[in-house]
Symmetry: C2
Subunit: 156 residues, 2 copies
DNA sequence: ACGTTATAGTTACAATTGAAACCAATTGCA
DNA sequence: TGCAATTGGTTTCAATTGTAACTATAACGT
């Protein structure tokens, strides 16, 4: 138990950062904790990574996307999407065909097995989200949504 | 420009996740964006990673920590800390000695060069944090702090 | 004091990730 | 047309990270 420690510099000479009050650091800790909790749910049961799950999630909502479109919607880069897809296709969770009018593009959709898995994982993910939100008052939940909307909006 | 796309399933049969409204996903995007912006500031100027910067930040506040204590305060695991430290010591930014009464423990502190760098980077990091917070109203900033305090508190 | 267990930190090896180069198909346009 | 530039996607190689094993020292229990 390392109790309170003497700060290196009591004077403001160096003005060191207080990590535990530094917003970027706090966001990083929270995000990692939350994502890891959810990831544990599916990584143990199914053999799937967070990136693969995100790809499946967008394909559940939008059928027939190309890999590039998946990349856009998941905020992943195209290499990561390519790798996730090759695993998903190999595992039989995603069907990949070629676009009729553009042989470069792939046309992606969940397979039957992919849907089955999705329908098991999606409720778990939502349950974790609810758990998290349950720690806030209704009022706080509204503010959080509003704050994230602002901070995530592209136009600065 | 892929306009609005037809959802794969209009009926609630599969209840797909809406990633863009899913809290864990939004936290992840925000956290990554923010951290990367700050990291760009120092990665280009100095040759240093985010983990190394975090180690320096805690050593700026608390002199003479051991590696394990650094790990605790940065929420990094001990291997990551060990690696960060070996680079920092090699680069002459951190001085490492051995604890008098326990030869296993290291005693760490920023070197003069480390302090110089710290004093240049810390204000930049704070400036980025201010930039981010400037996008919120004062009221929202208060709520955000309160919400993060709650979500980060250990006792669930 | 002595053997067992625990702790601090590093090393080694595998798995993951990132960046650049690459291939193939398509588009733009002289 | 035909050829340069662009786009969709994959591959390759290096760098980063994660996990387990390991070394050295210290603490504990008898």
């Amino acid at each position: 138990m390392p109790a309170t420690r003497k700060p290196a510099h009591i004077d403001a000479e160096h003005a060191p950062l207080q990590l535990e009050h530094f917003l970027p650091y706090r966001l990083s800790i929270l995000s990692n904790t939350v994502s890891q909790t959810i990831a544990m749910d599916y990584q143990s049961r199914y053999d799937i990574s967070m990136t693969e799950w995100r790809v499946m999630a967008v394909l559940a909502r939008f059928e027939g996307l190309s890999a590039r479109e998946v990349a856009e919607r998941t905020a992943m880069d195209k290499v990561a999407v390519s790798r996730a897809l090759s695993r998903l296709v190999a595992a039989g969770r995603v069907d990949r065909t070629t676009h009729d009018n553009d042989k470069r593009r792939s046309v992606l959709q969940l397979s039957a097995a992919g849907w089955t898995m999705h329908d098991e994982v999606a409720p778990m993910a939502r349950a974790r989200e609810r758990e998290l939100l349950a720690r806030l008052d209704p009022e706080e939940r509204v503010w959080l949504t509003r704050i994230l909307d602002k901070l995530l909006s592209k136009s600065h």
